[in-house]
Amino acid sequence: MAFKSKKAGGDSEDYKPCQHLLDYKAKYGIQAFRVLHKCLKTGPPGRASIRREEKEVPRCAICGKAQGRLYACLVCATIGCWLPPDQLHSRVHAQTNPGHDLAVDVDRAELFCCLCNDQVYDADFDRAVIGAQSLVALSGRVNGKEGPQNGAESTTADVKVGRSSKGGLSLKNSDNKVPSVNGLDGNESDRKDGDDGRDRKRRKGAEFKTWVPTQSDLLTIRQGSTPLVEDANLPSGLRGLNNLGNTCFMNSVLQALLHTPPLRNYFLSDRHNRTICQRRATHLCLGCDMDTIFSAAFSGERTPYSPAQFLYSWWRHAANLAGYEQQDAHEFFISTVDGIHANSGTTSPRARNSQTGRGGDVDCRCIVHRVFSGLLRSDVTCTVCGFTSTTYDPCVDISLDLEPDIRPDSKVFMDSIIGNFDGGRSSRGSTANGITGNSTLLGCLDRFTRPERLGANEKFFCQRCQTRQESIKQMSVRKLPLVLCFHIKRFEHSSTRNTSRKVDRYMQFPFSLDMAPYISSAIVRSRHGNRLLFVETEEMWASQSPSTEFELFAVVTHSGKLDSGHYVSFIRLAGQWYKCDDAWVTRVSEEVVRASQGYMLYYVLKTLSYKSSDFQDSTAGHESEANGNHGYTWSSSGVTNGT
């Protein structure tokens, strides 16, 4: 069995290779490792082995058996076994042939020094393996695969979930330790309900404390507010939005934003008060307009509301999109996020410098970026030398390509491939997919994060080789946002006919989603195994949020054609789905949502967590903004949020 010496991960800098390895490299140079390319076989991602032929049965050259660990000499390829305590034939080989000290584990493609009795690590060796491996991995991969764990996912909201999304106005911190959604939470998530202590030691978060109002707080609440009309049938915040002339794209996204838990809590807790907002006097402020809509939606009034003021402000913000034409909901979302961000005035200097049109900004303290902003990582690996160049891109949503049609008849072939090449990853989805043949969100995510060969005309300049080389590109999610927005690319451009069309294919999406396989640490780990990594440090793994479970709370769907159609959104409130079709809000069953053709999918993190800085922040914010009173108020039973 493979025991990963901890030398591999963290302290690559203070790791000193043994003298034997240094001697070997001095004698043969790093080119020597390249010959391994031909012998390298890849199993499931990240697991490489050394075989000369596909079905070769390696055996010890001395005893002829295949017991224990087998090592192939790096110099002469002689295989020796290693079966402690007394059967150490690879060591015998090293002792009888001076200079043949180093060997490679045939089952793991890892370096071993037979004289030191220890695994040794070498970045050049690992690069050679990774370079070769990515080539093999590519040729072994097939396009369509993966489905979500349909069966399991249908149980959707577990107890924990219900709580975080439920608390409309009353944000009670209930019996368990899961913090309810409090205004905002930090990025440096960590798990508070840690039933398993494994992630514990790395946590940096702050303890959640329930806000207990003092006497004077209670007095202020009582005096400054009017009781809400409680509606036993409908959860608060449900209010139709009038169509102001082809504005269903706006209404559908606004409904999703209205019920985005962290956003809702931010606005409802008066963190952006339009009556005291400084910007409003001089600039247009989309944040204030959002605040207006939130007030209107949660006022208890149920007659449809016309977000005319917001539309006007948005027109002024995005002048090129102004007018009564139909617009793309995704474009609207991006531009609204951008608008609220630009108007919020909380941009950090650094963020302002690096501001790009549509990307998010992880460091930005503004509300929309704290909620939606994530970080994508893109690795480009040179297939010749294994050098990897990494870039990070902020994003406020993840655009996914639909999987190409999976025909049932290709299933048998796929299964065989999956069985052989892709064990680890596809075992998750292959069963579901085999049955339905449908395209799934997990499948799309797999496509999004799989290694992809860059075409011959987009060869990447490798810094190490100092020339353009064939490369492999792989995406992963470096930092998950609080609210994950997926945009499904439902348009197809045909270059031959120079036309675009909408793809009406159904895509399955899970109600509960675990992003763990797609975050950078998992992707990189599965690609590299325990190779000596070049850039990664212990920090990188540590800063990765342990909480990767998301649940669906809003779906924006589109029906019709590319240039005209209708948007409708589905919103989940208190465990119940509602269809928001402009002015009409109706209760629908889960099946209706499942069967819908999602265009944008909004997922929220199930367990939120806090950084200590958030508490200071929100305290300050609360004090400075606490003076203004809104037109609406807290329901009498609920305890408002706060710090």
Partner: protein, 111 residues
């Protein structure tokens, strides 16, 4: 030297020693040739992760490494010390499932 990696293993000393392979070896070869061994490995890996065996073993390795001092320890030592514990920790039902799979393979495959 570079080409030599692709050469068949050097018949070092004992070309003549070609002993009769044991039953265990024959089975092993069959498993490898059919690709079943890879599948079994994958299955085992999954099972051991599911039941927490891997985490437990990791913890043990970590503790052992810490005890010995991380600069003084070799992989070989860890393997030697942890292997017996690891073997003992494999749940019986996992062993049973694997045995069942191997048996089924031997029955189905025309040996």
């Amino acid at each position: 030297m570079r080409a030599s990696v692709n050469r068949p293993p050097t018949p070092d000393a004992d070309e003549d020693k070609e002993a009769e392979p044991t039953l265990q070896e024959i089975i092993n070869i069959k498993l490898i040739e059919s690709g079943e061994k890879e599948r079994l490995k994958e299955l085992l890996r999954e099972r051991l992760i599911e039941c927490g065996w891997r985490d437990e073993l990791k913890a043990q390795c970590r503790a052992f490494t810490r005890k010995k001092g991380r600069s003084k320890i070799t992989v070989d030592e860890i393997v030697r010390n942890i292997t017996p514990k690891g073997r003992a920790m494999v749940p019986d039902n996992v062993k049973a499932e694997l045995l069942q799979r191997i048996r089924a393979f031997l029955m189905s495959d025309a040996l």
